[in-house]
């Protein structure tokens, strides 16, 4: 077995804030979570604005969501909920403290398996705790030039789950793979929509060669985490090489320049003065675990395994089809209608690539259309290349497979037309035929091109080549 020896002694641990944005209401009030297209400060109430005298009331559904997350990450679930106040001053924090979980997180001691540098690799989950999101600061133009700071409290009080891993990732790539896996699990659980702005924010703790860890704060994309980690590893290595000693510090990732910048050293760290939130009473959740387990869906690893056995597809395809729940569901629907193996190839290799290229979701494509394209190709009505062209046309301009085939004249021409074209081509190009027979492989390509030209591209190259070879064999048997 291949073994990754981690030459720089890289250790990466992540703290991921995931917004449970599939909840209808916020964590401690009844305000709607559907604020992304709304005017600032329209999804607020006395509670999430922290108005004097308001009190929090725990959203029970949020607790269920958090339990689902904990169980999906193979964690132990706490006996009863307990919330603390984390005290600090910041204008986006309307109460001057954040309600969070401290020594009794909802979930702890879990693990997630990723495809690591040397095969399956376990990332341990230290804890997952619930907390409320602060508001959002906004500036007119750049921070430096803005005349002031505007605060939008629509986000204030959104339910977050903060997932803290052990420093088990040994490379930036593994960090990214973990995040991809985590997002995948969250979307499987239907507690999270990763496409919404600010849905997942990451802090990365990075150390090399047994040195102190450096925390890079508030990275907003998986790619950003990978880039920040790459930069930070290089920076720390160079620093140590020049005789420096890495100290505990917090750094900020400048996404545009791809560098990390020092924010504050550990000495300046806050004392958050945690104490139990007196306005919330503990909620016993331990008894509910069996019930929640029953609601857990099939998760990515299990689905990947099942796809391989049930549909007989390659692991590579099973992995590609199960990383995104939407793609997985899409595939299974297509597989009901056409040959599952062909469907796997089409969805994993072709459709997914076209979607990624355009950065759009599989929602943009109809199951029925995918099935029809596969049917057209496998019945020999159209070529594979035409199948790809139909997918591209639907994604870019819309339409349905049948009318696109008609409009573009993609129906594969009858074989006798190809036979005729082959005969004509060989008759018209005796030199090329001779060249080929003398061993000049390239001449065959020329002949294939001629056949295609005669059929106006409606036959595919593979057929043309096969028929040419067939004919040549008949003409000059050896």
């Amino acid at each position: 077995m291949m073994v990754y020896d981690n030459p720089d002694g890289v250790k990466i641990g992540l703290e991921i804030h995931v917004q449970l944005n599939k909840l209808n209401t916020k964590l401690f009030c009844a305000c709607s979570t559907d604020y992304h297209n709304s005017e600032p400060n329209t999804h607020v109430c006395p509670v999430c604005l922290g108005l004097p005298g308001s009190l929090p009331v725990l959203n029970r559904r949020a607790v269920e969501f958090a339990m689902k997350v904990g169980l999906a990450l193979n964690c132990e679930i706490v006996e009863q909920t307990q919330f603390h106040r984390k005290n600090y001053y910041y204008p986006d924090l309307p109460k001057g403290f954040q309600i969070t979980q401290y020594d009794f997180p909802i979930a702890s001691n879990g693990k997630v398996v990723i495809d690591g540098e040397d095969g399956e690799h376990i990332i341990r989950i230290k804890r997952a705790h619930m907390e409320e999101d602060p508001g959002k600061l906004m500036h007119i133009g750049s921070i430096e030039k803005s005349k002031g700071t505007l605060i939008n409290y629509n986000r204030s009080g959104m339910a977050l789950i903060e997932i803290v891993t052990e420093p088990d990732m040994r490379s930036p790539k593994e960090a990214r793979r973990f995040l991809d896996k985590l997002r995948s699990i969250m979307e499987y659980l239907d507690v999270f929509d990763g496409d919404l702005e600010g849905a997942m924010r990451v802090d990365a703790n990075i150390s090399v060669m047994g040195g102190e860890r450096v925390e890079v704060k508030n990275i907003s994309s998986h790619k950003g985490v990978e880039k920040a980690a790459l930069y930070e590893i290089m920076r720390q290595k160079n620093f140590v090489r020049r005789g420096g000693k890495v100290v505990l510090e917090t750094r900020h990732f400048d996404e545009l320049r791809g560098v990390t910048l020092s924010m504050r050293s550990k000495e300046e760290e806050h004392d958050y003065r945690y104490f139990p939130e007196p306005d919330l009473v503990p909620l016993r959740v331990a008894d509910k675990v069996p019930e929640i387990i029953k609601t857990l869906p099939e998760l990515p690893d299990a689905k990947r395994k099942r796809f391989k056995t049930q549909y007989g597809m390659a692991d590579m395809h099973a992995k590609a089809l199960t990383s995104d729940i939407k793609v997985a569901n899409f595939y299974e629907e297509v597989a009901q209608l056409v040959d599952p193996k062909a469907a796997a190839v089409w969805v994993a290799d072709i459709l997914k690539g076209e979607l990624n290229y355009r950065d759009i979701s599989v929602d943009a494509f109809k199951v029925e259309d995918m099935a029809e394209i596969i049917r057209f190709v496998s019945s020999g009505n159209i070529t594979e290349r035409s199948g790809v062209e139909i997918i591209r046309t639907i994604l870019d301009k819309g339409g349905d497979p049948a009318s696109i085939v008609k409009e573009k004249g993609l129906v594969k021409v009858e074989e006798n037309i190809v036979t005729k074209a082959v005969d004509e081509t060989l008759e018209e190009n005796p030199e090329a035929l001779q060249d080929y027979l003398r061993g000049k492989e390239k001449s065959l390509n020329f002949l294939v091109g001629q056949v295609m030209k005669k059929t106006a591209g409606r036959s595919d190259a593979k057929t043309a080549r096969e028929m040419l070879l067939d004919k040549i064999k008949k003409l000059s048997p050896k």
Partner: protein, 475 residues
Amino acid sequence: MAGWASISQIKEKIAEKSAEEVTASYLERIKKSKINAYTTVCEGAIEKAQEIDDKGHNGPLAGIPIAIKDNISTKGIYTTCSSKILQGYVPPYDAHIVERLKDAGAIILGKTNMDEFAMGTSTESSFYGPTLNPWDKERVPGGSSGGSAAVVAAGEAPVSIGSDTGGSVRCPAAFCGVVGLKPTYGTISRYGLISYANSLEQIGPLATCVSDIATLMDIIAGYDSRDSTSVKTEMVYKDALVDDVSGMKIGVPEEYFGEGIDPAVENAVWDAIQFFEELGASWEQTSLPHTSYALAAYYIIAMSEASSNLARFDGTRYGYRSEGDNWHVMASRTRAEGFGPEVKRRILLGTYALSAGYHDKYYLKALKVRTLVKKDFDIAFKKFDCLMTPTMPTPAFRIGEKVEDPLALYLADVNTVPINLAGVPSISLPCGFTDGLPIGLQIIGKHFDETTILKAAYSFEQNTDHHTRRPQEMA
């Protein structure tokens, strides 16, 4: 028309005249007031009263004027906690109890003066200046609900609402010679009560008689989904108004008659206890051994919670706002200029008690003491139906007497704070006078057993006349 009156007396007056005339007469009386008990007077009360006259109202408080402590959120009416930092703050929502009172037909006369953020025992720390005791204007009315007690004593409102974190309803009730109840923790929703120390405080009514306390409780008590600490109870407080204490077992904890108690207070309370015996109850001395630690534990817990509760006042969203080149400077200056010295002292002490390295030594230890204090009560209530003590160790002290000595002021709470630590109910009612100043008897009950203490208080009231005395010039 306005003046010292019970709800049923006011109802008669409304029937005779009108709600409008009754409200107008109170507003008139408030205008002439010399005790500085209101921070805001609601001129709009007249219209509300007219509405009741015009349309009629079948609520139990239809047309009854009421005063509300300035730390309870009232939609459209200034709510400042008697602090500069909330100057100009007009809440967009009503506290749960305000909704209930309005539904019952009550007319809000205004907001009452208090110690800034309810931090005090004298109402002297108010940004609006001290409220004067109607019995002696050189003396404090007690605190922190000093305004709420003084308006009732002075006949500037028949009933009022206060809040009690460590004695803030009972202390001014005792000093002003009125009745005040601190219910069991969880009985009345705190939604809309601006928090000082969440785990200790309860809203409580003040009135001239026990019967009005029960009437108010039937309206304002009860479960509210917006307060997670609120509890479902099926209590009818009016049912407790029975003149019968025969067989009642009274415990008298010796620790509540300790050092510094005024002999006149001690005598009056003992007289009251003996009077209960005449009425058919029995009493026995007992001990609540952890009482001496209660005061320190109370102040650590209250200040710790306060340091966090008051963090939201930073000038960003509402209330007073100072200037500054950036947010941190603006917020710091707002807090430096907006809070008074006692509030700052408690924020600093609370911040200290919660800080890394001190948290276990102070905050955690205080929580342990709290458990022990609770246990004292649990044990005592296995034997007794209720406990009786002086509410305050002395009658009302002079204005300015303890301002410079916060510790002396904190010591005045020694008989009231253990009750908040334990979360049990307790009522203060007049049981005598010394040099023209009222003395309060405190009756403490079991969790959710307001019935017993209301019954005891009602029986005492029915058979004595202390509650009928009123301040000289107010009569």
